[in-house]
């Protein structure tokens, strides 16, 4: 196996652990399926994650972003529950949202619409527990120069704090903006999918704490089937806006180990619509570099040859 192999950096990859060098009898790939249609925004996942992993608090700031005061995933927030308030016409199923779009507070100062239509379903409050995607092609891992990031036998991606030197390459390599450096510490941190618990055959803390089974943990292949069934069920009930995100093994990161059922465009939840691992082009870059080098060499040789004349 070579890091120059296109196969491990891009495209469909059905056995990510084997690709990373594990024997073929490695355990099945484990992951999360987060079904946001049953999320009640209790944030038990955020708290359970911090309790188990001893992650420090992320500061006390009332953001005004609905009930979301931890704002985004980061070095000290490994599970993050987004709250999106959508009202008025914007609450209807989105059609072509290019950008996150919800009304600014105060957009209906006269109250006529919502007052006359009170309880008309014209208001939606979307909640979604975000987490590291544990990508099939993990940009963070591929660029890590120290080997602090590694692929576990469960197919998840974990940082080893005692190896990390805080270079920060992984931060810019993550297409989701998940991994981050902890300011007062300097090193990179993110969700480990509770690697220590997995090794003991236990469920990750967030999934264990989730009261509504919005966060489901299990074998990725099984979770994908479950998600497909759930999507079908919702579509049958007329919830046309339901869609899976990160489920597709053919997408820009080769599919996510932690994927989602969303009730709106990914952008509405602050997720990139079409994430691509930045290392996708490394293979071709190296080819082009090689060709360029050979060409330069050839030109150089030719010029010397020419001088002889």
């Amino acid at each position: 196996m070579s890091i120059f192999s296109e196969r491990s950096l891009w495209g469909r990859l059905d056995d990510v652990q084997h690709d990373a060098g594990y024997d073929e009898d490695h355990p099945p790939r484990m992951g999360f399926f987060t079904d946001t249609s049953v999320c009640i925004g209790c944030k038990a996942c955020e708290v359970a994650c911090k309790e188990w992993n001893d992650v420090p608090d992320d500061g006390y700031l009332l953001t005004g972003m609905s009930y979301d005061n931890t704002q985004a995933l980061g070095a000290s927030t490994w599970r993050h529950v987004a709250f999106v308030e959508k009202s008025g016409a914007g609450a209807a199923p989105a059609v072509d949202l290019g950008m996150p779009s919800f009304d600014l507070p105060g957009a209906h100062p006269h109250g006529e619409d919502q007052a006359t239509e009170s309880g008309d379903g014209a208001l939606r409050w979307l909640m979604s527990s975000d987490v590291c995607k544990h990508c099939t092609h993990a940009g963070c891992l591929d660029v890590c120069p120290t080997g602090a990031l590694f692929r576990t036998e469960f197919g998840t991606v974990v940082v080893q704090p005692d190896v990390c030197n805080g270079c920060g390459y992984c931060v810019s390599a993550c297409p989701y903006g998940v991994i981050d450096l902890r300011k007062d510490d300097g090193r990179a941190f993110k969700c480990t999918l509770c690697y220590d618990r997995l090794k003991e055959g236990q469920t990750p803390a967030c999934a264990q704490a989730c009261p509504t089974e919005s966060i489901q943990f299990g074998e990725l292949s099984e979770l994908r089937e479950r998600a497909d069934r759930r999507l079908e069920e919702l579509h049958e009930k007329g919830v046309d806006v339901a869609r899976l995100y990160g489920r597709d093994p053919e997408d820009g990161v080769g599919g996510d180990g932690a994927f989602f059922l969303l009730l709106d465009e990914p952008e509405v939840y602050g997720l990139p619509p079409d994430p691509v691992v930045p290392t996708r082009d490394i293979g071709s870059v190296w080819k082009h570099v090689g060709i360029a080098a050979a060409t330069l060499f050839g030109v150089g040789v030719a010029s010397f040859v020419g001088r002889r004349k």
Partner: protein
């Protein structure tokens, strides 16, 4: 429910997954609304109008479950001819005394079956030296003692099962609720007719033989001056729809803490003893006989009250309790009136209450009118606070808002404060009783740190120390303490064994062995039982509350998880799950049914749950004349704790503020009651104190409605959450929520500071401007509501003003709970500091014309 009970809400989500329709009625759009099929925004405090209109919809469209209603409720009962409804008296029922604010309920009574019955009853009264009908069960302090059943009626009464008699409950109900129309709902609640129709249809479509509907409620119903009646309205609706005693039906009270149900069963309340036995009163109960006779011998299991009472006294005083000394009945304290929490606070301010224990509560933040709480604490001789954290109630003397304003001065406060660290729930073993009446045992996981102790250990140790001090005393007054049967085994740290206490609660027979059922309790002193309704939890010396058999290893009723009172019945009154003849109402809703062939043809009730009925009582059993207690329960009387065996659509007794619910406005309201001339609950209990002035209703100075509520991220008064970083960061600052329309009207900017003012106080918070708070259209006007999460106070990692300082004290007359709805003003910017704050609030009072000579009135209807 998702907001305040996220763990329990998983079952609502499970129901939704299986096709249930979830309807959420709440002033604010919450996390529950977000996943519900329908959210109905409602004006806070208008729930009786809303539910009453649903009752009217059912009655006027003949959508009631008629067979159930006729057989199992008191719809057919004929009411006394003297009864007058709110229809006749513009918002009052007959029997109201404007001087005292009390109702005399004698005109609400059932008509007797026969003249003989009246004569027998009068005879009984004469034997006791009473004037007929003088029993005081209706008195407010006793309403709560009916937590295990209704007030005792004197006779089952005459019935017209055609429901045509104009004096029958069904017809009275129909007339009473006729004015609760969808149009009225629009005008009172701000809910449009289309939305009303949608909910009414969903509700009725999902009720009947094949389907049942459940109601869940929390303090959105209870914390009102009409709170008990809000729940009564839901009960009437559920009885009419046949949703009580049947699987998937019922009314679930979501309790505020892990064991609030437990703390009413084994009460921390002034007016009841364990198992809802009424606390004896000084004026009426001079002997055991006098104490139990109101209830004794009445139909149903409550008729065995003497056995429960004697067994309780035996559990308290053991061998000292003998038939000769009335089983130490005289050792029991007597109440002389209302000693509820807010009355006690007033007594503290007035100086008659000198000492106070505060355990696991933070009243200066969590109780209404925080200023009165603090003024009371500042006037005590001593205060004991037991808590996990140094809460505001323990530090009021140095940092309360009144210190800042100069209304209290630390050096002048004489209260001696003892702060004692308490063990958390994982640091002690014990049981929680939740809303389904289920006891669940938890084992101790770790030792408490430092000096922290369990409550059990604290009180046991305190009691033993006092007893040691009193040892040898010959003073009669000390006998109740010295004779207490307190001999619990303790662990190495001196902590009494919780299971020994549970066994005492369960009850023991003459041989000291645990009893299996409350039917084994005797009135001769041969049994002891700490709480008769819990009898059986320790049957065969096994702690059944500790059972943890997973639901996948047993049937769907899961009877082997924990233990449910009474007798491990998962569904109360489940006789009603079968038709009068004992067969299931439908295949789909089959639960308990009569098997005539069982027991060699004698027949018995069978099903997946423990039948809440006498096991072998045939459906066609008619009690003989003069039958008493359980013998008087007819085969078609499912409500076995009621003395007439029926579900009460109309309460002939026992509810302080009327036999049927009527909508009254909260004590402070911008709205004139469109239903009656009577603006407020006429029986509401007013708390007369200068620190409790009521905003005049319809005041332009206080034009907005406010209500308090919880957030998922914090726990009640915050002692267990504002002190923890992981919870603090999730909701790091106090805030209020308003609609965009209100924000525009008052110039409030999202995320900025605002000041909220009532006649009691002014507080500041950040403001979230959100469409989740709706502007409600009531007829031709809008009503705006300010939502206030109440978790904050002066201590902890996140601090701020306490919204409960804004809330007035006007109490429900049945249970003495405050009304958490009031009126306010809201302005941009922070509040004034120090003495300027007092002046600011005073200026508001002046401008609003608050009558400080009668601060408790609010000036609406006197």
């Amino acid at each position: 429910m998702a907001e305040a009970h996220p763990v329990g809400f998983q079952w609502v989500m499970e129901a939704k997954r299986r096709g249930a329709t979830i309807i959420h009625v709440d002033p604010r759009f919450t996390r529950t609304s977000a996943v519900s099929d329908v959210h109905v925004p409602i004006r806070a405090g208008s729930d009786i109008a809303w539910l009453g209109a649903l009752v009217n919809y059912v009655l006027s469209n003949d959508l009631d479950f008629r067979e159930y209603v006729v057989a199992y409720t008191n719809a057919a009962n004929i009411i006394e001819g003297r009864f007058q409804d709110t229809e006749d008296l513009d918002g009052l029922f007959s029997g109201f005394d404007p001087e005292t604010g009390h109702y005399d309920p004698t005109s609400w009574a059932y008509q007797p079956d026969s003249a003989q019955q009246v004569e027998d009853d009068a005879e009984r009264d004469r034997a006791y030296g009473d004037t007929p009908g003088s029993q005081e069960s209706h008195q407010s302090a006793r309403s709560e003692s009916h937590g295990s059943g209704g007030a005792p009626v004197r006779w089952k009464g005459r019935r017209d099962e055609t429901l045509q008699d104009p004096s029958c409950v069904f017809q009275i109900l129909k007339r009473h609720f006729a004015r609760y129309t969808p149009e009225m709902v629009q005008e009172v609640c701000g809910i449009g007719p289309e939305q009303f129709q949608r909910v009414a249809e969903a509700l009725t479509r999902n009720s009947g033989r094949d389907r049942t509907t459940a109601f869940c409620y929390a303090v959105g119903w209870t914390h009102h001056s009409t709170g008990a009646q809000m729940i009564r309205t839901a009960s009437i609706l559920q009885l009419l729809l046949g949703n009580i005693g049947r699987p998937g039906g019922g009314i679930m009270a979501l309790r505020g803490h892990a064991s609030i149900q437990g703390s009413t069963d084994i009460p921390t309340l002034f007016n009841i003893l364990p198992g809802y036995l009424p606390m004896p009163t000084a004026s009426q109960h001079q002997s055991l006989d006098e104490w139990v006779r109101d209830d004794e011998g009445k139909a149903g299991f409550w008729g065995n009250v003497r056995s429960y009472a004697v067994s309780l006294l035996k559990s308290y005083w053991g061998d000292a309790a003998t038939p000769e000394n009335d089983f130490c009945f005289d050792y029991l304290p007597r109440i002389t009136g209302d000693h509820s929490t807010y009355t006690t606070v007033k007594s503290m301010i007035e100086g008659s209450c000198k000492g106070y224990f505060v355990v696991g509560e933070n009243p200066t933040v969590g109780s209404s009118n925080g200023k009165m709480q603090r003024l009371g604490l500042a006037n005590l001789d001593w205060l004991v606070v037991r808590d996990l954290q140094m809460i505001e109630t323990a530090t009021f003397w140095k940092d309360s808002p009144e210190i800042e304003t100069g209304e209290l001065v630390t050096e002048e406060i004489g209260t001696e404060v003892f702060f004692l660290p308490a063990a958390t729930h994982v640091e002690k073993s014990g049981s929680f009783t939740q809303t389904q009446r289920m006891l669940q045992w938890r084992d101790k996981a770790v030792d408490p740190p430092g000096d922290a102790r369990s409550e059990l250990q604290f009180y046991y140790d305190l009691g033993q120390r006092i007893r040691r001090k009193l040892a040898g005393s010959t003073d009669e007054m000390d006998r109740p303490l010295l004779d207490l049967a307190w001999d619990y085994p303790t662990d190495d740290e001196g902590d009494p064994e919780g299971e020994a206490v549970l066994k005492e609660i369960n009850g023991t027979g003459p041989d000291g062995a645990a009893l299996a059922s409350y039917t084994e309790l005797k009135d001769d002193g041969s049994t002891a039982c700490g709480c008769w309704i819990y009898c059986g939890v320790y049957a065969d010396e096994v702690n059944l509350a500790r059972r943890r058999k997973p639901h996948w290893d047993q049937d769907w009723v899961a009877s082997e998880w924990g233990w449910v009172w009474p007798a491990n019945r998962r569904q109360l009154y489940n006789r009603a799950s079968a038709a009068p003849d004992g067969s299931p109402w439908s295949e789909r809703k089959a639960y308990i049914q009569w098997d005539a062939d069982a027991d060699d043809g004698k027949g018995k009730w069978v099903g997946p749950d423990v039948p809440d009925f006498i096991a072998d009582r045939a459906p066609d059993y008619v009690p003989p004349e003069g039958a008493k207690g359980p013998d008087a329960i007819g085969g078609q009387d499912p409500f076995i704790m009621q003395t007439d065996g029926k579900g009460w659509l109309f309460a002939p007794l026992g509810v302080a503020d009327g036999p049927m619910p009527a909508h009254y406005e909260p004590p402070e309201s911008p709205v004139r009651n469109p239903l009656y001339g009577q603006q407020n609950n006429p029986s509401r209990r007013k708390v007369d104190h200068p620190a409790n002035p009521i905003n005049p209703s319809f005041s332009e100075i206080f034009p907005y409605v406010f209500t308090t509520y919880r957030l998922t991220e914090h726990h009640t008064a915050g002692g267990m959450s504002r002190t923890l970083p992981y919870l603090t960061e999730l909701q790091p600052e106090p805030f209020c929520e308003v609609s965009p329309r209100l924000a525009a009207e008052r110039g409030l900017t999202h995320g900025d500071w605002v000041t909220i003012v009532t006649a009691r106080a002014a507080i500041e918070a950040k403001v979230l401007v959100t469409d989740r708070m709706r502007s409600l259209r009531l007829g031709d006007r809008f009503v705006e509501q300010v939502g206030l999460p109440y978790h904050w106070g002066g201590n902890g990692l996140t601090t701020g003003d306490s919204p409960n300082d804004l809330v007035n004290l006007t109490l429900d007359p049945n249970v003495y709970i405050q009304d958490k709805v009031g009126t306010c003003d809201i302005r941009p910017g922070r509040r004034p500091r120090g003495p300027e704050l007092t002046a600011y609030v005073e200026a508001y009072r002046r401008r609003a014309g608050v009558d400080m000579a009668h601060p408790e009135d609010g000036g609406a209807d006197g």
